[in-house]
C-alpha cells in the first residue's frame, strides 16, 4: 500500500453507546502498527463486539475518531465504510463462517466480487481466482482435492475455520480480524491453526488482530491488550453471591 503511516489502526478518545447515557466502549487511545500480530483479550461484556463493529466500519463512534489505514471512518458515509471494509479487512468469526450453499472455492473467492483491489491483487499474481484459493488452501494444509467437491457443511469445524481463514486472506487485505476463531477447535488444532494464520498473514503482509477470551494463546503474539483495562466503560465481571441454604 502507498500509505506509509506506520500505524494501521488508531483510536483516540472513542466513546460508543447503544443507548445514550450508558457507554459500552470508552477507549482513550489504541494504536496498532503495520504487520503486528495483536492479541486482544476480551471476555463477554468487555465491549469486544462493539470494538470490532467500529473497526469494521459497521458502527461509528459517538465521540472521537477511528482511523484505519489513515482513513477516519467516522467521517465517511456508510456506503464508503462498507466499501472500505470490503477492500481492506478480512474477517474470521467464531463459527458458521461459511455460506452453506456455496462451494469451498466460491466461499473463498466471495470477497473478491465485492472488492476490486483484492481482485486486482490476485490478478497481479498471475493466478486465477480458483488457483489462488487452492494455493491458500494448500498453505493452510487443506489440499485434499476431494474437499473441494464437498459441501462446506460437510467439513469439520477445523476445516471450516481454515476455509474461513483462506477467505479472509485472499487478495491480501491490509488487516485480518479474527473474532474467537479457535474457540470451537480443540487444543491441538488450535495452535496449529494460529501458526498457519501467522505464516499467511506474514506472506500477505496483513496486520492480524486476534480477539479471544483464552489467555493461554496470548504468549504466541507480538503484543497483548486486555480490553477490560483499555475500555473504561467495561462492565466488571459480576460477582456471584452465595445464598445460604437456610435462607431459601
Amino acid at each position: 500500500m502507498l500509505d506509509t503511516h506506520p500505524s494501521v489502526i488508531t483510536l483516540s478518545d472513542v466513546k460508543f453507546s447503544w443507548t445514550s447515557g450508558t457507554p459500552v466502549l470508552d477507549i482513550r487511545e489504541l494504536s496498532i502498527q503495520r504487520g503486528e500480530k495483536v492479541f486482544i483479550r476480551g471476555p463477554s461484556g468487555s465491549g469486544k463486539t462493539t470494538l470490532l463493529g467500529l473497526l469494521g466500519g459497521v458502527l461509528t463512534p459517538e465521540l472521537g475518531s477511528v482511523s484505519v489505514l489513515g482513513t477516519d471512518l467516522a467521517q465517511r458515509s456508510s456506503a464508503e465504510r462498507d466499501h472500505f471494509r470490503a477492500e481492506h479487512i478480512g474477517f474470521i468469526f467464531q463459527m458458521f463462517n461459511l455460506i452453506p450453499y456455496l462451494s469451498v472455492i466460491d466461499n473463498i473467492t466471495l470477497p473478491l466480487s465485492f472488492a476490486k483491489n483484492r481482485q486486482a491483487a490476485v490478478a497481479k499474481t498471475g493466478r486465477s481466482k480458483k488457483e489462488e484459493a487452492i494455493r491458500l488452501l494448500k498453505h493452510l494444509e487443506l489440499d485434499d482435492p476431494a474437499l473441494l467437491t464437498r459441501s462446506v457443511t460437510e467439513l469439520s469445524i477445523g476445516q471450516q475455520q481454515r476455509v474461513a481463514a483462506a477467505r479472509a486472506l485472499i487478495g491480501q487485505p491490509d488487516i485480518v480480524i479474527a473474532d474467537e476463531p479457535t474457540s470451537a477447535l480443540d487444543t491441538e488444532t488450535r495452535e496449529a491453526f494460529i501458526q498457519l494464520l501467522f505464516t499467511e498473514c506474514k506472506a500477505a503482509g496483513s496486520t492480524l488482530i486476534f480477539v479471544s477470551h483464552d489467555a493461554t494463546l496470548e504468549s504466541l503474539f507480538d503484543r497483548s491488550i486486555a480490553l477490560q483495562e483499555l475500555n473504561k466503560a467495561a462492565t466488571p465481571a459480576k460477582k456471584t453471591v452465595e445464598v445460604p441454604w437456610c435462607l431459601l
Binding site: 470490532l52 469494521g56 474477517f91 458458521f96 455460506i99 450453499y101 466471495l110 472488492a115
Partner: protein
Amino acid sequence: MSVMKLAYQSLKNRRTTALLTIFSIAISVALLLGVEKVRVEAKNSFTSTVSGTDLIVGARSSSLNLLLYSVFHIGNATNNITWETYQDLSSDPAVAWTIPISLGDSHKGYRVVGTSQDMFKHFLYGDKEHLSFVDGKPFNDVYDAVLGSEVAQTLGYHIGAQIALSHGIEKKSLQSHDDKPFHVTGILAPTGTPMDRVIMISLGGMEALHIDWVNGAPPVAAFAISAERARAMHLQPSSITAYYVGLKSRIAAFRYQRSVNEYRQEALSAILPGVALGELWKLVGSAEKALLVVSGMVVVAGLLGMLTTILTSLNERRREMAILRSVGARPWHIFVLMITESLIYGVVGTALGFAFTYGLLFAVQPVVQSYLGLHLAITLPGQFESLLAGLIVVGATVLGAIPAWRAYRNSLADGLTVRI
C-alpha cells in the same frame, strides 16, 4: 460471483420450498390461463353456433325466442310460416340462399329437423365450417335421415339403422310415426353446436309423416296412408317453422330485415343471429366471469404464499446476511439478493405455468375436439396472456420488496454479528 448467482445458489440450496413455491405459482397461472382459454373458446364457439347466416326468419316473436327454437331447438315456435310466404320472401333479389327448417317431431328426446339439401350446402358454423359427415351422406330419399354426432353416439345408431320418429317433442311421446320408419344415411361430425343433437330429414319426409293427419290428430286406420303410397304423393309442405337466409351482400341485411318485419300477409320476425347470440351469451355467460375472478384470486394466493415463504426464511438467513456483509456486501446488495429471489419465483413460476397450460392444451385438444366439438386453438400468447405474465412478474417483484426491505433493515442493524 454476482448477486444474481448468489440468489440462484441460495434458492438451489432451499430447493424443496423453492420448487413448491414455484409450483404453486405455476399452477395458479396455468389455472388462470386455462380458464381464460376455455372462456374465450366457449364464447367463440357459442357465438359462432351459426356463422355465415345473415338472418333467421320465423313467426313474430322476440329475437331470443326465435333464436332458441330455430338454432338451439329449445321451446316452440309461436306460429309457422306458410310455404307461399317463404317462396315470396326467398325470391327477393338480395337473397343468395335460404335453408328452410321444420320442427315438431322427435326421436327419443332428440329433435327432428325437416330441412332441404341446402342445409349441407350453405349452413356454416364456427369458423365458417360446413357440416361434414363422419359416415354416410346427406338424405336423398323421402325416408332418409341424417343424425347429429351425439344422437348417433348415445343411441348407438349406424348407417342403415331403422328409426321410428315420434310426434311432438316429449321424450315419451304417445303418438308414434312407426308406420313410416326412416333409414339412417349419414352421421355428422361433432360440431360443438346444437347440430350434434338433431335428426335431419327432408321436408318431403316431414310432410309424408303427417300426410294422413287431420287437424293435428293421427288418422283412423281406414284413412291411413302407407309409407309407399305417401312416397308417390305430392309432398309439398304447406308451411315451415323458420328459415335461414344468406344474402348476396350483408349491406342488404337491414333492408331485408325490415321487409320481413313489415310483411303484410303474415306477422314475421327476422333476427341477426350474431347479435342475438351475443345477447344470449351475456345472459348465460356471467358464470364464466365469476370463474375468471376466482382463478385470479388463486394467483393472488400463490403470490402471497411466495411472500410467506420468503418472510419465514428471513430469520434463519440472518447469519448468511451477516457473513455476506462481513465479506463486503453492502446493504443494497442484500436488498437486490432478496428481490432477485422473488423475481426468480415470479419469472420461473409464470414460465412454468405457461408450459403447463400449453402442455395440457396439446394433450387435451384432440379429445375436446372429438368429444365436445370445442376447438381449443393453440396460439401464441396474446395480449391477455402477455399482460398477465407481466402483471404476475411485477406483482411478485413488488411483493418481494417487502422481505427485501426487511432484510435490508436487518442487515443494517445486525452488521457483522447476528443479534436476535
